[in-house]
């Protein structure tokens, strides 16, 4: 029994490519079209992992033992309600529908709630809170952008179809694909290499390259003046994306902030006292600033190299300030290269139900937000929480040792489709379905465009999806809480409310003072 499913959405990275064509045979994906290599690795092979968890498990005497779903749900609910300050972390590879229930669960428990963005693009979110963000959807860039800057990211390997679908190598209404000129360049490079090899063989030395390497150690090449889309890459090392670029700027590690600051000065026609910034000559930066000012529509994409290097959200804040300054001269937008397919969705869902995108705390009965105080790693390092639920994430493999050690001091509940590092450490281990393969739901692309993930094959028998599972845990938590209702009187609640933040109506007093004066 073979069937073909069209317009399938890829549940891997923030690009959410939705033009996959998948062939299903006997409830198994056997072939696919249009996907990148990363996508194929998961959609055709990865999801059939031998490490798949097929039954809920509870740790008894140090060993994980399969149990019934009821028992596991009861145990999880007991752990969460017994804890004084549980933490719910993960969410970025889950559907928005599940994330909604997650917020409700956190609220019911009075727990901390955080998503994976606190270890990837949380700084980008914090930067927008300081300065805003001039952004656009990816299609706008496809139609209009004639200057594309990838800053501290390498989409060629991390988001393989990004260039092809949204930026340099795609045809838009007003700007055309640079694929042909790229192919010519590659051919040129290949023949140059042949010539070099031949000349080495014949005359024993190489002749100087016709085209200087497009690197910051050199001035920007002539191609910076060409018609059509231009691509600039800024990174600490020469990546595959940099190979495709018209100009590559190699910065010293942790010096991005200074370079952005210098560019801001140059865009604002200020003179600098220094000759080089972050390893790059100021005169070359001037050429880059000119290219930015003279484009019709420019875009900066930035990655984790900017969010997680020294300066963190201040780097992004400054990059956004640069983009804003450029908007006074032309049109410019900036966009984070979000990683997991629905990490943006987690921000979106948390924000509409609470006002805040991540790093949440419900311990006071209302939402509180403060990265650094309620972000998972900070919380774990300080050892503030006393139980953890991890859903669709693997902090076991990615978190600092101190954080994982503190997490292990207290009960741990995990919800993941396969036996990853964190599931191996769990006290209650739930199986779940692969979102976007075995269950449908909404995900948000890196530019906040919602797309519905499709269900392509049936999940293994008896395995619930994230949403159903969380609903059951929530129901069980409510049962336990119903038996121990909060006994505070109205007067006591009023007293407590007094200490909650209030709206300060300053305006009125000020106006009165003006009157008196």
């Amino acid at each position: 029994m073979t069937s073909e499913v069209k317009s399938v959405v890829c549940p891997i990275c923030g690009c959410l490519c939705d033009d996959l064509e998948v062939t299903v045979e006997n409830n198994e994906i056997v072939k696919m079209k249009n996907g990148c290599s990363v996508c194929e690795a998961k959609m055709v092979h990865g999801y059939k992992s031998e490490e798949r968890i097929l039954k809920p498990m509870i740790r008894k005497d140090g060993e994980l033992v399969p149990v019934s779903m009821d028992e596991a749900v009861k145990k999880a609910a007991k752990i969460l309600t017994d804890a004084k300050y549980p933490l719910l972390f993960g969410w970025s590879s889950s559907t928005s529908e599940a994330q909604r229930i997650g917020v409700e669960l956190a609220e019911e428990l009075g727990s901390a709630l955080d998503n994976c963005c606190s270890v990837c693009h949380g700084p980008s979110v914090m930067a927008t809170q300081e300065i805003g963000i001039p952004a656009s959807t990816l299609g706008q860039i496809r139609h209009r952008a004639d200057l594309i800057v990838y800053w501290a990211c390498n989409p060629w390997t991390s988001h393989p179809r990004h260039l092809e679908r949204y930026t340099s190598f795609t045809d838009g209404r007003f700007e055309k694909s640079e694929w042909k000129s790229y192919m010519q360049k590659m051919k040129g490079d290949a023949s140059m290499k042949k010539v070099q090899a031949a000349s080495k063989r014949i005359i024993g030395s190489t002749i100087p390259a016709m085209r200087p390497d497009a690197c910051a150690l050199n001035a920007p090449p002539q191609t910076m003046q060409k018609e059509g889309r231009k691509l600039i890459v800024v990174d600490v090392r020469k990546t595959m994306t940099a190979d495709a670029a018209d100009y590559f700027i190699q910065v010293q590690p942790n010096k991005d902030y200074e370079i952005i600051e210098a560019l801001r000065c140059l865009v604002g026609d200020q003179e600098l006292d220094v000759d080089t910034v972050g390893g790059v000559k100021v005169e070359y930066l001037k050429d880059v600033a000119d290219a930015m000012v003279n484009c019709e529509f420019g875009v900066i994409f930035f990655g984790l190299g900017l969010t997680q290097s020294a300066g963190r959200f201040r780097n992004i804040e400054n990059a956004i300030a640069l983009t804003r300054d450029l908007n006074r001269k032309t049109k410019f937008v900036i966009s984070p290269m979000r990683g997991h397919f629905n990490v943006t969705g987690a921000n979106v869902v948390f924000a509409w139900s609470t006002g805040y995108p991540y790093a949440l705390d419900f311990s006071q009965g209302y939402p509180q937000y403060n990265p650094g105080e309620f972000t998972t790693i900070d919380l774990l390092r300080r050892g503030d929480n006393d139980a953890t639920l991890v859903i669709s994430a693997d902090p076991g493999a990615h978190f600092p040792k101190a954080a994982v050690q503190n997490m292990m001091k207290h009960p741990l509940i995990t919800i993941n489709p396969d036996m990853n590092a964190i599931s191996r450490l769990g006290d209650v281990v739930f199986p779940t379905q692969w979102c976007g393969i075995e269950c449908e739901g909404t995900a948000y692309r890196m530019d906040h465009v919602p797309i519905m993930l499709r269900k392509v094959v049936e999940p293994p028998k008896g395995i619930l999806n994230d949403e159903e599972l969380l609903k059951r845990i929530l129901a069980e938590v409510r049962v336990i809480k119903g038996k121990n209702p909060d006994t505070e009187t109205k007067a006591e609640v009023k007293e407590r409310n007094k200490l909650a933040p209030r709206i300060e109506i300053k305006q009125r007093k000020k106006a009165k003072k003006v009157e008196v004066a």
Binding site: E104, T128, L138, S353, Y356, Q364, Y366, I503, V514
Partner: protein
């Protein structure tokens, strides 16, 4: 089968011409009926004012842009929190409340139906997901299609019928309710950082003018027989001297055939009624605008009143937000362009009494509302959150029904603005009947919602009861007491269930419905290979993944419309 009887209230139901009569309202199964059995639950409304549930024609409460506003403003949320109770979810305010809080706060003020006026079609799923999480209210949303490439191309060709088919298709797949147009032509120009400056400017790359877009879509609206008119945010909004553009737009719309039903709703009129040739010479144009409106009947309006507070401005008018940002004094600017459709911008904004411009804006909004004689034309809004958050409505009402309240605020305002303000010359004080028109009946009528905004038999049982006794309370004098009553409804009844009592939410099982239009054209827009190809060119998502699927609306209410094409 649930029955409810509201006894002995002073009923204000302008659609049925009931002006403060003492009468009973009977409710059965969520509808108003002639009478109920003796077993009905009784709500004693003696000494209280009974009105239809409030209707808000224009309030930004959900969607991509609103949510981005939420994300960038932790400083706004931290000062205003809602604690979780056994009945309600927790949340935060202030100017952009979280979804649950939005529902509760509207309901506490006696509102039962609200309209989300701007939704980028590409992000429609997001808007509907949020609307699902706004409890206790009926909702609908307007897709932004004034700068949609299909519309621009078809109108430039002069093909109104083809344009109408595309619009019908768009309303259907985005589950929308009305045609929203923002700064027509300006948003497309903003794609390359430009704007249009009059209704006859050419839109770059499209051979069309704003005049052609507005009148074209007004004709499309008529062809499709949509219940609401087109919903327009005019060009040059928020700029000094823009009232001439507004007058030009209103005159241009005279060319659209008028058969008793308004052809256009011009929203947040206050922001479109500025005179003067620069911020330093900022003036009110409320007299010019209102005298035109008093002489013509083809349009409806809402106020877009300004409140003196710290709020967040957000609109699809990207170029306007950037020009506002460039005035200085703002720490954040968001721009959010959406491919082939629209743009957007957000800026936190603090309206200050001591600012000559802000104070005069406050005055202009009220001047317009008071100078436009017919309350069926002009509705009360703050363009939440642009002029101020919606829960400041009771303050706006107080300024409308009490000269004393206006004077109390005006005397704290900037002296220059006080001199320019027309308010001291206006003595009009609105009655409860007029208030009921401006906040309920008129809005429901303009929206084409026959079952809302009235308490006649067959209407939806959405009722608001306020602690105002029209026999003993002179609202113009006791404006503070009346304001308090409007802030905390004595009862709000949604679909025949008491959801708010004494200003507190007492029911959490009413999610509210999402209304959408199923526009049936005789010869619907065909999605053939050519169309799919075009689709692939224009958007970055596939045609199959573009629609809002049925399950995105938790409680849908389909309103079927027969189009004449």
């Amino acid at each position: 089968m649930t029955e409810l009887l509201i006894k002995n209230g002073f009923v204000f139901d302008p659609i049925n011409k009931i002006n403060g009569e003492k009468m009973d309202i009977a409710i059965k199964d969520g509808k108003i009926v002639h009478k109920v059995s003796g077993k009905a639950q009784v709500v004693d409304a003696s000494g209280l004012t009974v009105m239809p549930g409030g209707v808000d024609i224009h309030t930004h409460i959900a969607g991509g842009e609103v949510n981005t506003g939420r994300i960038i403003r932790p400083d706004d949320h931290v000062k205003d929190v809602e604690r979780k109770t056994a009945m309600t979810r927790c949340g935060t305010g202030y100017s952009i409340p979280s979804t649950f809080t939005t529902g509760y706060r509207y309901s506490r003020m006696g509102y039962t139906t609200v309209m989300n006026p701007s939704m980028a079609p590409l992000e429609a799923k997001h808007t509907h997901e949020e609307l699902n999480d706004i409890p206790l209210l009926d909702k609908a949303t307007y897709p932004l299609i004034g700068d949609w490439w299909f519309v621009l191309e078809n109108l430039a060709k002069g093909d109104i019928v083809e344009c109408a088919k595309h619009v019908a298709w768009m309303l259907d797949i985005t589950k929308g309710y009305a045609i929203k147009i923002v700064n027509p032509g300006g948003l497309e120009s903003w794609g390359f950082g430009h704007n249009v400056h009059s209704i006859d400017d050419q839109v770059p790359n499209f051979c069309i003018t704003p005049r052609e877009i507005v009148t074209g879509l007004a004709r499309v609206n008529a062809l499709l027989n949509l219940p609401h008119s087109i919903h327009l945010h005019t060009n040059n909004l928020g700029l000094p001297g823009n009232y001439t553009t507004t007058l030009d737009t209103m005159k241009a719309l005279e060319s659209v055939p008028y058969n008793g039903k308004p052809v256009c709703h011009i929203t947040h009129l206050q922001f479109a009624s500025f005179a003067g040739d620069g911020w330093a010479h900022f003036q009110s144009a409320s007299e010019e605008i209102s005298s035109y409106i008093n002489a013509h009947n083809h349009l409806t309006f809402d106020m877009g009143q300004v409140i003196f507070t710290d709020t967040t401005t957000m609109t699809a008018d990207g170029p306007f937000e950037f020009s506002l940002y460039e005035l200085g004094g703002h720490n954040k600017w968001v721009n959010s362009d959406v491919e082939t459709e629209t743009s957007g911008g957000i800026i936190p904004f603090h309206y200050k009494k001591n600012s000559p411009v802000n104070a005069l804006q406050w005055s202009i909004g009220l001047e317009l509302a008071l100078l436009i004689k017919d309350p069926w034309k002009m509705f009360m809004t703050t363009d939440h959150p642009n002029g101020g958050p919606f829960f400041a409505y009771p303050r706006v009402l107080a300024w409308l029904y009490s000269k004393k309240a206006r004077e109390a605020t005006l005397k704290h305002c900037n002296k220059k603005a006080q001199k320019k303000s027309l308010l001291p010359t206006i003595d009009r004080e609105m009655t409860l009947y007029e208030i009921a028109i401006m906040t309920r009946a008129g809005q429901a009528k303009a929206l084409g919602l026959p079952n809302k905004g009235q308490l006649g038999v067959g209407a939806d049982a959405d009722v608001a009861i306020f602690n105002i006794n029209p026999e003993t309370m002179d609202i113009a004098q006791q404006f503070k007491a009346a304001r308090k009553a409007f802030k905390h409804a004595a009862y709000t009844i949604k679909d025949g269930k008491v959801v708010v009592k004494d200003g507190e939410v007492v029911n959490n099982t009413t999610p509210g419905r999402t209304m959408w239009l199923d526009v049936q054209t005789k010869d619907p827009c065909v999605i053939d290979e050519e169309m799919r190809r075009k689709f692939k060119q224009y958007w970055t998502i596939e045609y199959d993944n573009y629609p809002v699927f049925d399950h995105y609306l938790r409680v849908p209410e389909k309103l079927t419309v027969k189009a004449s094409v």
